[in-house]
């Protein structure tokens, strides 16, 4: 063997040896939760605060309460870079860890959610896609393992349209209006189209769909079209750098920011700050909560940040939208495990048991107050027919420095959405040969 081939041989041997190596065993009274995050790549500015929020909440539960009823939470991060194939690899890597395997998975990407939806029924690991994922996955009789808690994109789009109709003083005034959707050209961005078309047909407004290719830094042509057509409203369905680029382009073509409405993934500080003053007046849907610290932050400070155990780089970051969203997402998962423990005993739960916990999740206003989320969330009650749990949201507006809530609680119109969910879920069930029905776990 020459030096060259020897090196190659060593590298190959190390590679094979490494891949065959097993993960170290974990202690018995632990609940393992995998974390599919993206701290690198084009979407990292949005992925990092969310991941920090998740991690901080799990650590807080461990530090403050000693775990969930004494069961310590163990989590492990895996960087997906928002890429679907890498996300699936992370999931496969982490799903079997811990004494009972992964409790649930939070993909934080519509693409990864779609891919994992195919795997969940065989792996028996529920997917929490809070505020994203397939809109029809709300139907728990077909999508038994998916939980798009707090609202799907159809809900989001409907809430925004409700607010716009209110501004126009009634749905009948919407006739003849023109609404453009600037969207990320992926399943994520395409989700609201079906609802917008349905609403357009009902109320006689015109729609215009403008796709933006990943990652969304090139939008000149899109905004030129907007300048030419001058739609009455622009809805923005972007993520990461696409959002700030869109707002900057809107400034460049002089489209009024007051007429722009982003989905809840297009309404974080990271999206508006790069446009500086230009973003003033821009609106977005709020996934119930908005920015700013609240009751829970006292605990965060006491148990984590005062001891230097927090994940966020600066204390102020814990009041940002995506960090709070991470906290909320972690809280919902932890509460689902707690709910499952009430039925199955105070020990680590399997994915199947957590799924039961999610399907029977019932967080009352009183409980929200206990948990420290008062005024941030409305009560949530999940059932087999309704994996969303709640369908309310608000609109928030950026004043140049911070987000302000500019609407009351708006509930999406289920008489419109529910038949669409039924139809889409039935089509999916037919394609995949699924017999709809609620899952029973004993």
């Amino acid at each position: 063997m020459t030096g060259k081939t020897k090196h190659a041989g060593i590298a190959l041997a190390a590679l094979l040896g490494g891949l065959a190596m097993a993960a170290p065993a974990l202690a018995q009274n632990e609940q393992f939760i995998p974390m599919l995050v993206y701290r690198t790549g084009a979407y990292a500015p949005n992925g990092v605060p969310f991941a920090n929020g998740l991690a901080d909440y799990y650590n807080l539960v461990n530090e403050r309460d000693g775990g969930i009823n004494g069961v310590k939470i163990v989590f492990e991060e895996c960087d997906t870079g928002y890429a679907t194939d890498r996300g699936v690899e992370c999931y496969e890597r982490l799903k079997g860890k811990g004494p009972t395997g992964a409790a649930y998975v939070i993909p934080l990407s519509t693409g990864i959610t779609f891919a994992l939806t195919e795997k969940a029924p065989t792996d028996k690991i529920p997917i929490i896609s809070m505020g994203y994922g397939r809109s029809e996955s709300r139907d728990g009789s077909v999508f038994q393992w998916n939980f798009p808690l707090l609202g799907t994109y159809w809900t989001a789009a409907d809430i925004i349209l409700h607010f716009i109709a209110d501004q126009e003083r009634g749905w009948d005034k919407m006739k003849g209006k023109r609404i453009a959707l600037v969207y990320h050209d992926s399943p994520y961005g395409k989700e609201p189209i079906a609802l917008l078309q349905k609403r357009a047909q009902m109320h006689g407004f015109e729609t215009m769909f403008l796709p933006v290719t990943h990652p969304g830094v090139e939008q000149k042509a899109t905004w030129l079209q907007i300048r030419q057509n001058r739609p009455d409203y622009v809805l923005l369905w972007g993520w990461g750098v696409m959002n700030s680029t869109a707002i900057k382009e809107a400034v460049a073509v002089g489209y009024p920011r007051e007429k722009m409405y982003g989905v809840w993934w297009s309404g974080a500080e990271q999206d508006v700050r790069p446009a500086e003053e230009g973003a003033k007046g821009y609106n977005s849907a709020a996934l119930q909560h908005t920015a700013g610290q609240f009751q829970l932050h006292q605990d965060l400070k006491k148990y984590l940040y005062d001891k230097g155990k927090g994940f966020a780089a600066k204390w102020d970051e814990t009041g940002e939208i995506l960090f709070i969203r991470g906290l909320i997402n972690a809280m919902l998962g932890v509460e689902a495990i707690r709910t499952a423990q009430e039925k199955f005993g105070k020990k680590p739960m399997t994915g199947e048991q957590v799924r039961w916990g999610l399907e029977n999740l019932n967080i009352t206003a009183e409980r929200l107050k206990q948990l420290g989320f008062e005024n941030e969330l409305q009560p949530i009650k999940v059932s087999c027919e309704d994996h969303e749990g709640t369908r309310v949201g608000r609109i928030q507006t950026w004043d140049g420095k911070k987000w302000n809530v500019s609407s009351d609680w708006i509930t999406s119109d289920d008489s419109v959405i529910k038949p669409m969910v039924k139809e889409a879920a039935a089509k999916y069930a037919a394609e995949k040969n699924i017999r709809p029905g609620c899952l029973v776990t004993n």
Partner: protein
């Protein structure tokens, strides 16, 4: 000592023209395939199947396909992702619209559709060469991606543009576990690789190589460029189409056009460059290299017990991966397959190099 062909006489033309003229090679490959079919299922876990073996095998088929076109016929293509998408969507539509079709037929149909599209986009190769052809195939990549994102019929009017496949059965046996999927993919790979190896050794392969080495000279000795180039495009696209269908059906289960974007094309191209242009073995080595090294680097800190932030691990993965590629290309510009060949040469003389 072990690897020596002394005493292996070739007494017939058949023996002289065998794929593996050396007995040790023959036995090694037979043993390897037997190992893949019989021994791997005894110990492999789900992770090894779904994230290591299945993706490497499927992408090896795609790499073989591109190697036929680029490595053997010298036509540079950046459209592999698009042809994979043709295969995946063709298979999806056939399975959706005629659910009773045998899955083998579905995959063959995927290959045939990709072949037809490949022929169409191969036509410019008769007029343009080299980098200009690369640009033309890049156009096909963007066109196909656009078509699958915009023409709703292909995705059965799914609101999100993402499609999902149903239950996959072969002669009544459901292919639902990773182990069954692996065996199926392995069987497909063995058959296709064997066919490719024979194609490139035969008349067709010699035609391709003649065109690659000097197209004018090849034309003068009577090789029709139209025939040679288009057949390379056809066979290559057929392989890539099947790989695309396998990728969609057996690896992803649910996909969107983004799964077959231009990055996929580059990935397959890098596989054959690193593995070795114009070798079948290189397609496998390149696929393994490109798929496994990043995963390996990503998990290395955890195995070594080094605690590091997730972001740092990802950044180190990117940097080391780039460095390793550069290292291998400097060490052996002809790819990993060439390293293997050099190793074999040395092994013949070992332990007594003159």
């Amino acid at each position: 000592m072990l690897y020596r062909e002394v005493g292996q006489y070739k007494t017939s033309y058949e023996a002289d023209q065998a794929i593996f003229p050396i007995a040790q090679d023959r036995w090694f490959v037979v043993a390897l395939v037997a190992f893949g079919f019989l021994v791997v299922p005894l110990f492999a876990g789900q992770y090894l199947y779904t994230e290591v073996l299945i993706p490497v095998l499927i992408l090896s088929i795609a790499a073989i396909g591109l190697n036929i076109l680029t490595g053997y016929c010298g036509q540079l293509s950046l459209g592999s992702g698009g042809f994979m998408a043709v295969g995946a969507y063709a298979a999806y539509n056939l399975a959706l619209r005629l659910p009773q079709t045998n899955i083998i037929l579905v995959f063959l149909f995927a290959g045939v559709m990709a072949m037809l599209v490949g022929l169409l986009f191969g036509l410019p190769s008769l007029r343009i060469k080299g980098f200009y052809l690369a640009v033309a195939t890049l156009a096909s990549q963007f066109f196909l991606e656009w078509a699958f994102a915009r023409v709703k019929w292909f995705t059965n009017y799914a609101p999100s543009g993402s499609v999902a496949v149903g239950r996959i059965e072969l002669f009544g046996i459901p292919i639902d576990t990773p182990a069954k999927t692996y065996i199926f993919v392995l069987a497909m790979t063995v058959v296709l690789a064997l066919a490719a190896k024979n194609l490139v050794r035969g008349r067709l392969g010699r035609m391709w190589m003649a065109i690659r080495d000097m197209d004018i000279a090849a034309e003068i000795i009577g090789i029709r460029p139209l025939h040679a180039k288009l057949s390379a495009f056809a066979v290559s696209s057929f392989y890539i189409g099947i790989a695309g269908a396998l990728w969609g059906f057996l690896r992803l289960g649910s996909w969107e056009p983004l799964a077959f974007d231009v990055n996929r094309s580059f990935q397959v191209l890098f596989m054959i460059i690193i593995g070795g242009l114009g070798t079948i073995l290189g397609s496998f080595l390149g696929a393994a290299f490109i798929v496994l090294i990043p995963i390996f680097l990503n998990q290395l800190p955890a195995w070594l017990g080094i605690s590091m932030s997730t972001a740092a691990i990802s950044h180190i993965e990117f940097m080391l991966f780039g460095a390793i590629i550069v290292f291998f290309l400097i060490a052996e510009p002809h790819g990993l397959a060439r390293l293997w060949a050099i190793g074999k040469e040395k092994l013949r003389l070992w332990p007594f190099p003159y």
